[in-house]
Every structure is written in C-alpha cells, then in structure tokens.
C-alpha cells in the first residue's frame, strides 16, 4: 500500500466538498454526550487534514491501482476482486478493514455455512421458537408470558494469549448477545478445556481463565450454574473457553436488530472506543507508523464488568419504556458488524459521523474506530423524538450514549440503502451493507476422513486389560476418581457466585443447573453443557450425538423437559480436509440427533483454527440443552436422599 503522504491534496479537495451536498457535518440532533468530540466534528478542516487525512472514496476512485495489503488482512485474491466488483472501484482503507472483518471465517461462517444449514433443515417444527439461528441468540417461549434465550460461544484464542481478560471478555460478549434479544441475563455456564493438568502452561492458563470467568460473571451478578473442566494434552496450545449465558424476557419485550425507519437516530451506548483487539487491521496503518504500530496495537481486550452491569440495567430500562426500535451488541467485529448488520437486516441505509464516536485515544484513525473490539458497547436505533429519553436513561445509569448517525432510506429503485461513513468531513466508507453481511464468500471446502482414523479405531477399548480382582478394581476406581478429569471441581466452582439473584435451584455439582424463572408459579429452566472430544475424535458423527445425549440426559434427570439446543463447535483449521470432515460429520450427527430427539438447535457458534502447526485439537462439539420445569420445586437433585420414614431405599439401574 502507499504511505499516507502519497495522498494528493487534489483528490482530498474534492472530498472536502462532499458534505455540502446535503450531508451536513453538524448533527441534526445535537446530542453528543461528549462535547469535545462534538466540537471536533465541526471544527474547520485544516491543511494538516489534507496531508494526513484518511483514505477516502474519492481517493479510491482516483487511485485505482494503489496496492492494498489485503493478503495480510486474510483476504484471498478472488475475495479482493469481488470487493472491487461490488464497489466498482478499489475499497478505501476503512472499507478494506470492514470487508476483511466481515468476510473472515469468524463473522461470515464461510466454511461452515453449507453444513450448518442442516440444523434448520432437519429441525422438528416448533411453535415455541420466537427467534432462531441467525439472531444474536435463539429465543424459546416457555409460558404465555415468558420466554428464555440462551447461547454458548467461544473465546478460545484470546484466553490463551491473556487468560484472565480473554475469559472475562468471553463472558462479557455472550452476555451482550443475550441482552440484545431483550432479555435480562440470569445465569452463566462455562465449559472449559485445558492441556495436561501437570503442564507448566496449564498453571498459567487455568487459574487465569477461572479467575476471569468468575471475575466478570460475579461482578455482573450472574450465578454460574455449571460447566465443564476437561484436561487433555491436545488442548495445550489451544485451550477452549466457551461461555454460555441464559436470559429471561417477557414475550412482548423481544428485541431485534433491524435499523428500521429512515430518520431514526443511531446511538452508540457504553464504553469509549479504544484500540482494543484491532491487531488484525493494524497493518493498514503500519506503512506510516512502522515500529510504533507494534507498541500501540494490543490485540488484547480488557473487560470492565462494572460498565457492562450498568449497560444491562440501562438497556432493560430502555426496553421496558419502549424507547428503542432496534438494538445490536458490539462483539468481535465492533462497529463494523453492528452498523452493517442492523442496516442490512432492515434493508435501509445508514449515515454515520465517525468522529462522534467517543474515543479513549484521540489519535485513532477511521479504520481503527470501525474495527475496534472495545467491550461493553451496544448500538441502538432510536426514533428522534425518543432520543432525549434514551440519553436520560443512559445518564441515570452513568453510561455514555452518543448519537453517531441516522438511518437513511432504501434506494429509490427499491434496492437497499447504502452505509455512508464520514470522518471529519471525508467520506471514508460508501458500501451496500448487505454486501458485507450476506454476500460474503461461501466455501464447500474439501473434506477427507483423517488417514489415522482407522488405526485409532482399531485400538479398541475391549482389548485393554481389565481389573480382574477386587484389589485391582479398587485401585482402578481410586485412580479414576483422582484423575483430573473426574476429580472434585470445587477449586474451580468455589470461585463462582452461584447464589446471586436468589433463583438458583440447582448448581454445581448437580448434573444440570436449574434456575427459577417465575417466583409466583415456580416455572423454571434446567441447563446442561457437555462435550467429549475423545469420543468425537474417534467418531465425530456419534461423538456429537453422544454430547447431545449426555446433555439431554442431564437435563432430563433434573426433572425438566428438554426443549432446545445450543452448541459451540470447536475445531482445528477448516483448510485441513481432515478437520473439515470431522466438522461435517459432527454437524450431521448433531442435526440428526436433534431430529431424533425432536428438539431444535436454536443457535450456537463455530470456532475454527484451534490448532498449533499441523496439530488440531480433538474435534470438540460442546452441546447445551435447555429444559423446562413447570414447577422447580419438583426438581430432582442428584444425591440419594433417604425418604422420610423408610429404613432403606431401593436403587434401580435403568437402561441397558
């Protein structure tokens, strides 16, 4: 790419003129909660801006041959060509950053999409499902009045880099997904996988992850009602930190993300935006900052659960007062994802003044602001006449809220609107939002059964020596219960608050967590998350089914009726045909299993590239099942309690 000084003043001049044609740089609603930034937006454009200004659309038109660092951003040649085709020109720096994020595996599901369809296709019909796959989280109705929403997500890689913050922000992220559906988050769970228990790096990762899950969840006031701690050397360089959140909402409070209604105001609420997690797109600035950029661009995000707690309370108050039209959380892809998804969902356009985004570091450039993964932020779409009430609510809870843009109409010809982003008067983004969200690449990647699978399967459990004497049996049992995977987990679970909110009916060490949802009727839900990477390694199809069956059983034995499934699919690189085969088989198994049990997958998450060099983790589908209890007083705890009055109780073994 060129250095910024290549940018000629001539093209820039044309750009500066653009705001005159109806795109007033001053907000129509003078509402920024941050006066200095609002002031910056209307300050005169100085000569400095012309030299150091951002890459604009006008420049992109004028310099079609400029080399751009798309391979460093993870885009392939054909993907880059597609972008040029869509835009009819080269993308600006900001646009390139946005496409690279939205078309990444993480956001576009480009390798998994073709397989995940089965969840919808094979799902049994359900009249409980108010929102399903594709939404921030699935929503299931559990009574005339109430619905619950739940989802499990991964934060694996960040938790390896910085265990505490990685795990903490993993919890924070899934909680915002649940919040975005209109629900009050009411519980969390944390399926975890680590390398060997006695490996020195496990001593770094495990305590940090557990403290991070606890630190964030405890501080938000969400009871932790279950999870998993599994050790296996295959996770040594790729620990799995999955986090599940459960939320409850009145059916009529269901929110959606569509930025409907031209003229409505786009509000950014929550933390200021900093250079968190923009490691990926930092190459865009490296030509000018070289060494400095290394220092300035941490890929680590730091969580602030206190701000998230305030954000939760503020959002719930906004929902109850019916003050928002649409809402979306800011997750991994930051503003880029929130702006494009909300606009694409409504078919509208959007006009955004990027300089109004409150920044933690004033020197941030447009592409950095768009890519930032700063935590604890939500994007709201608000009718202009309700804006003041929204800002008042935010102020009451002490969170920042700033109008940064407005919804614009679809094109006159009926085509969806465009997303137009300016920064101090320069047009830095002008794209069809749907092209980022829905038109990303989709791959049917090559798949091949791993060559070593036959060998692995040949080594059968039946051929292992078995304890034959009572002493040997005793020794085996003692070894098993002392093994890290089966031992008491209270060192972990004691670091989690399971009492807060006062509705935890069952939690650790029970098979399923049970939460009372309605204090008057006793209505409640049970949840379990389970996975077994070793089964899935031997047979991904049946391994996924077994994970589902285990979770389903755990919920059923608590006394609940299982009704919905979420899942987090943790795999190696999809570019490895063996991994891709494992993935396809696991998805097929889970979809078939759900069809057989008659419950739908309502949402989930795919985490690929859990791999060090050529060595992938065991395929690890983690499955969460949710069940309903009409009266939580009827729950069945795990312990055998002596019935009153009886001398002895009988123990039965059910099944084959």
């Amino acid at each position: 790419m060129t250095t910024q000084s290549d940018i000629g003043a001539n093209e820039e001049g044309a750009t500066v003129a653009m705001p005159a044609d109806g795109l007033a740089p001053t907000p129509r609603h003078p509402v920024s909660a941050d006066p200095p930034l609002a002031a910056a937006s209307s300050r005169a454009i100085s000569a400095d801006d012309l030299v150091d200004g951002p890459d604009t659309v006008a420049q992109a038109v004028a310099s079609p041959d400029e080399l751009q660092p798309y391979p460093e951003l993870g885009l392939r040649d054909d993907e880059y060509d597609r972008i040029r085709q869509i835009l009819g020109r080269r993308p600006t720096q900001s646009e390139l950053a946005m496409y690279s994020i939205m078309w990444s595996e993480h956001c576009s599901y480009k390798s998994s999409k073709v397989h995940l369809r089965q969840f919808g296709e094979k799902a049994p019909p359900s009249d409980r499902l108010l929102a399903g796959i594709g939404e921030n989280a699935g929503v299931v109705q559990i009574s005339d009045r109430l619905a619950v929403t739940f989802k499990v997500e991964s934060h694996n890689h960040p938790s390896f880099v910085e265990p505490y913050q990685g795990a903490a922000t993993g919890v924070g992220g899934i909680v915002r997904d649940i919040l975005a559906m209109g629900a009050r988050p009411v519980a969390v769970m944390d399926p975890l996988r680590f390398g060997a228990a006695d490996h020195p790096d496990t001593a770094r990762v495990l305590p940090g992850v557990v403290a991070g899950v606890g630190g964030y969840g405890n501080c938000l006031g969400l009871p932790n009602i279950g999870g998993e701690v599994v050790f296996d050397p295959c996770y040594q360089g790729n620990p799995l930190v999955n986090a599940l959140c459960l939320g409850v909402l009145p059916v009529d409070r269901l929110q959606n993300k569509a930025a409907a209604g031209p003229g409505n105001v786009v509000v950014l609420m929550g933390a200021k935006t900093g250079r968190d997690g923009i490691g990926g797109v930092s190459v865009l600035a490296s030509a000018t900052f070289e060494e400095a950029s290394e220092q300035r661009r941490p890929s680590v995000q730091v969580g602030d659960p206190f701000t998230e707690k305030l954000l939760i309370e503020a959002c719930l108050e906004l929902y109850d007062a019916q003050l928002v039209v649409g809402i979306q959380d800011l997750g991994g892809a930051g503003l880029t994802c929130a702006l494009t998804e909300t606009a694409a969902a409504a078919g509208t356009g959007m006009r955004v003044w990027l300089e109004r985004v409150p920044l933690r570091e004033p020197s941030m450039e447009p592409h950095e602001i768009l890519a930032s993964e700063s935590q604890e932020r939500m994007l709201l779409v608000v009718e202009p006449e309700k804006l003041e009430a929204v800002l008042k609510t935010a102020e009451k809870w002490g969170v920042l809220a700033t109008a940064i843009g407005e919804v614009t109409p679809a094109q006159p010809d009926g085509e969806p609107g465009r997303l137009l982003v300016t920064w101090r008067g320069h047009v830095v983004v002008d794209v069809p939002p749907g092209s980022l969200v829905d038109d990303g690449p989709v791959y049917a990647r090559p798949m091949r059964e791993p060559a070593d699978l036959i060998l692995l399967q040949a080594d059968r459990a039946e051929t292992l020596p078995r304890p034959a004497t009572p002493e040997a049996l005793r020794e085996t049992v003692l070894r098993m219960i002392a093994s890290p995977n089966l031992c008491d987990k209270s060192w972990v679970t004691e670091q989690y608050d399971r009492y807060v909110l006062g509705n935890t009916v069952l939690a650790q060490p029970e098979d399923a967590g049970v939460i009372r949802v309605d204090e008057e009727t006793g209505l409640g839900v049970a949840l379990s998350v389970d996975g077994n990477g070793r089964y899935a390694r031997l047979d991904p199809y049946n391994g996924a089914k077994l994970a589902l069956a285990e979770s389903y059983r755990n919920v059923a034995v608590s006394g609940a009726q299982p009704i919905a499934v979420t899942n987090c699919l943790n795999f190696g690189s999809p570019e490895d045909p063996g991994v891709m085969w494992q993935f396809a088989e696991a998805v097929r198994g889970l979809a078939d299993g759900c069809a057989e049990l008659g419950i739908p997958v309502t949402g989930g998450n795919v985490s690929f590239y859990n791999q060090t060099g050529a060595a992938a983790i065991h395929p690890t589908p983690v499955v969460g099942v949710l069940g309903v209890l009409d009266d939580v007083a009827q729950r069945v705890p795990m312990g055998f309690a002596r019935s009153a009055g009886a001398d002895q109780d009988l123990i039965f073994l059910l099944g084959e």
Partner: protein
Amino acid sequence: MTARIGVVTFPGSLDDGDAARAVRIAGAEAVRLWHGDADLHGVDAVVLPGGFSYGDYLRCGAIARFAPVMGTIVTAARGGLPVLGICNGFQILCESHLLPGALTRNEHLHFRNRDQLLRIESAGTAWTNVYQAGQEVLIPVKNGEGRYVADQRTLDELEATGRVVARYVDGNPNGSQRDIAAITNEAGNVVGIMPHPEHAVEALTGPSLDGLGFFTSILKHLAGAPA
C-alpha cells in the same frame, strides 16, 4: 403497621433484589432506595446489600461511601437507625467509619463461594435478637475481599464489649482475624456481616433457612422500639 425496610441500590449492587426478597419473606415491606437520592423515604431500617458497588475497583466500598444516600445513612445510623451491611455493605460500613476495621483481600487471593457454618456470638443486636448466643447457622459466604482486619486494640475491644456478632466455625474462608464474620457498633444498631443471610431464606434456593433470623430480628426490634 408493617415495618418499612430500605434496601439501597448502588451502581454495581447485585444482591439488592435478594435482600428485598428476604425482607418481604420476613414480613416487612421492602423499600428500594437509590444511591443518588439522599432521602431515606421514612424507612425504619436500612440494608446495604452485597455486590460490587462502583465495580469495587479501588477498594471495596471506597467509592460507594461518597454516594449521597450514604451521607444521610451515616447521620441516621449515628442517631440509632438500624443498618445491616451485607458483604459489600459491610465494606461500605467500614469505609464510612460506622464500623471499625477494614475488609481486605482474602488470604488465599481467590473469590470463594461456599456454604459456611457460623456461630452467632451476640444476640444483642437489632439484627440478631431472634438467635441464641452460641447458635450455629449455615449461610453462604461469597467474597474476594472478606478478610476482616483491625489493630489488636480494636479487636480486643470488640471481643470485650460483645461486639463480635458472628464467627466462622469449621474453617475460616478468607483468613479473617479471630475468625470474625460479623461485628456491630457500640449501640448494636449497625451490623456488618460478610456472609449472605439473604441467600438462606428459602428452602428451594438456599442451603438452609438460617439467614431469615436477621430479617425477623429487625422486625422484632422495631416492634419493641419506642416510636
């Protein structure tokens, strides 16, 4: 007339709903108080609930102490208003100097949540009068900074004047000096307790019903108190 018990919500309060529920289960009316409102709305007693007020980022309770509502509560408590501080509320009471000493990082450096056996040492306070001195109760404890510390003189004085309200038995979960779990002021109207009695008021959700006594005690106290 039913007693009206105020429950304060600070930004970051988490167990405020639970405290209000416990108040209702005990048979009183729970009145929600807001940190930014200095008015106590005529309540007969106040509960400062658990949580992470203001994120507890500096020191637990350090920032909450400056909330407008605390100004009023400190004055009223000195005048005899019964105040119960639970966990974060206990920390706030110490930071506000209504109670002596301080709550510091757990000795083992971890947040710890477990069902904890306590011995009620003093049944003479506004919040413990339905218990018997020496009675053992099972109540959840959950904190990261619950280790009570004070200088030797203060500790000796607390012991000598019967102001240690409850002690951990069967294991000290955080390294508290002299196993102290709860203390009171000289007048016995202000009590700070680290464990969470509000989490032990329903058979379905708690390990016992042993926590309810704190909330029924205040009703008994108010009923006996001269108007």
